[in-house]
Amino acid sequence: MAKTPLQFRHNGREVAIFVDGGMSLLSALRDEIGDHSPKFGCGQGGCGACTVLIDGEPVLSCITLAETVAGKSIETADGLKTGPELHPLQAAFMDNFAAQCGYCTPGMLMAAKALFDHNPDPSRVEVIEAISGNICRCTGYESIINAVLAAARRTERRA
């Protein structure tokens, strides 16, 4: 198959790979770069498990054509920690028992981070809107919503 060279920033690091025609960003990240933190949940843009940030905006990597991210900056759940230190969202997800099977968690975290980076003190309604594209089949969402709200309070305390 014809391969196309592709360069972008992945969690702050410059990467260069070759992609097949029509390859999704999700496949590029998982199969070419080896970042398994974005998950395949549907390939339809319907579940949010593959959510990553492109230049700070949340996208569904399964329906994003890999070639379109040339020169852009991609953040995935794998890059959330700073060194060994958990991101406030990760810590809050733990405290609130906001994961069961854990498969939606990376996408939830990135959807929440997209909100967080623009709006460090969201309302419950804003949190619900932010995760509205992400399916969780285990928790019933309440613990996730509260984790994001708690993370906001946690960051306020730090500031």
Partner: protein
């Protein structure tokens, strides 16, 4: 045969590529095309991309606003000039979908999708389309009617008038799942009132036909009326006239016809729920 991605600088080249290759498919945000590829649609062998700044531009001159086909829904939500489109845009997908989903792509979304097209239809929008024969403007209604019969048509932009006042344009999406769900139906209404009486109302529906449609019977019934229970009664009674909704996984045709009048009434009277 592997998928080939062809990226062009000008609409003319892109349109030519589309009309010359039956297996070619234009990709906007990817919400439709990438999904098809992921699900194994082998009829698509060529993906056509267009990198033209004008596609992602929003140009306002007076009341007229032209929105590039490549403008995304999240771009609309950031744009104060387009505040009248924020309601429909916010009700589509989740934030991540809106980062990819484009105005142009929404015009091709099959029912029950395509809520933005519903809003644009009620705003008497026109569409600038590039085909093998070159670019031309056409009414959105005409475009939607011929959409599935004209493959290879490339939408460049959509143009409409900004509503004179916020209350002059209203949008309501009825979905089972909150806050993000597919339309049971959606309704957009733009109306100007002269001396307290409605004049030249535009009512558009989503999911009440294979594409977004105008509710002409209801529009006629509303002409010259006042916006109160009795004034709108005739329009509400005629709400389902001329519609041909489908049975699908979201709702049945029967249900859509039953409740379209209820939701039209609530929208016209400014009631929530």
């Amino acid at each position: 045969m592997p998928v080939t991605v062809k990226t062009f600088a000008t609409p003319t080249e892109a349109a030519a590529a589309l009309s010359s290759d039956r297996s070619a498919c234009y990709i906007g945000g990817g919400t439709l095309v990438m999904r098809a590829l992921n699900e194994g649609d082998v009829s698509i062998a060529t993906i056509v991309r267009l990198e033209d700044r004008s596609l992602t531009q929003i140009r306002a001159s007076g009341a007229r606003i032209t929105i590039g086909a490549g403008v995304t829904l999240s771009q609309i939500l950031r744009e104060r000039e387009l505040s009248f489109l924020h309601a429909p845009a916010r009700l589509i997908g989740g934030p991540a979908v809106r980062t990819n989903a484009t105005v142009g792509g929404n015009l091709f979304a099959p029912a029950p999708y395509g809520d933005l097209a519903v809003a644009l239809l009620a705003l008497d929008a026109t569409v600038s389309v590039m085909s093998g024969y070159g670019a031309r403007d056409m009414a959105l209604e005409e475009f939607l009617a011929s959409r599935d019969r004209s493959p290879g048509a490339l939408v460049l932009s959509v143009t409409c008038d900004r509503p004179p006042a916020p209350e002059a344009f209203r949008f309501r999406k009825v979905a089972r799942v909150k806050p993000k769900g597919v339309s049971v139906l959606s309704i957009a209404v733009s109306l100007s009132a002269v001396g307290g009486r409605v004049s030249g109302p535009r009512i558009a529906y989503g999911a009440m036909a294979p594409t977004a449609i105008r509710a002409k019977a209801a529009e006629r019934a509303l002409e010259g009326k006042t916006l109160d229970e009795s004034g709108i009664a005739a329009a509400v009674a005629a709400a389902a006239e001329g519609t041909s909704p489908a049975n699908d996984a979201i709702a049945s045709a029967w249900y859509r016809r039953e409740v379209v009048g209820v939701h039209l009434r609530r929208l016209l009277l400014g009631q929530d729920g």
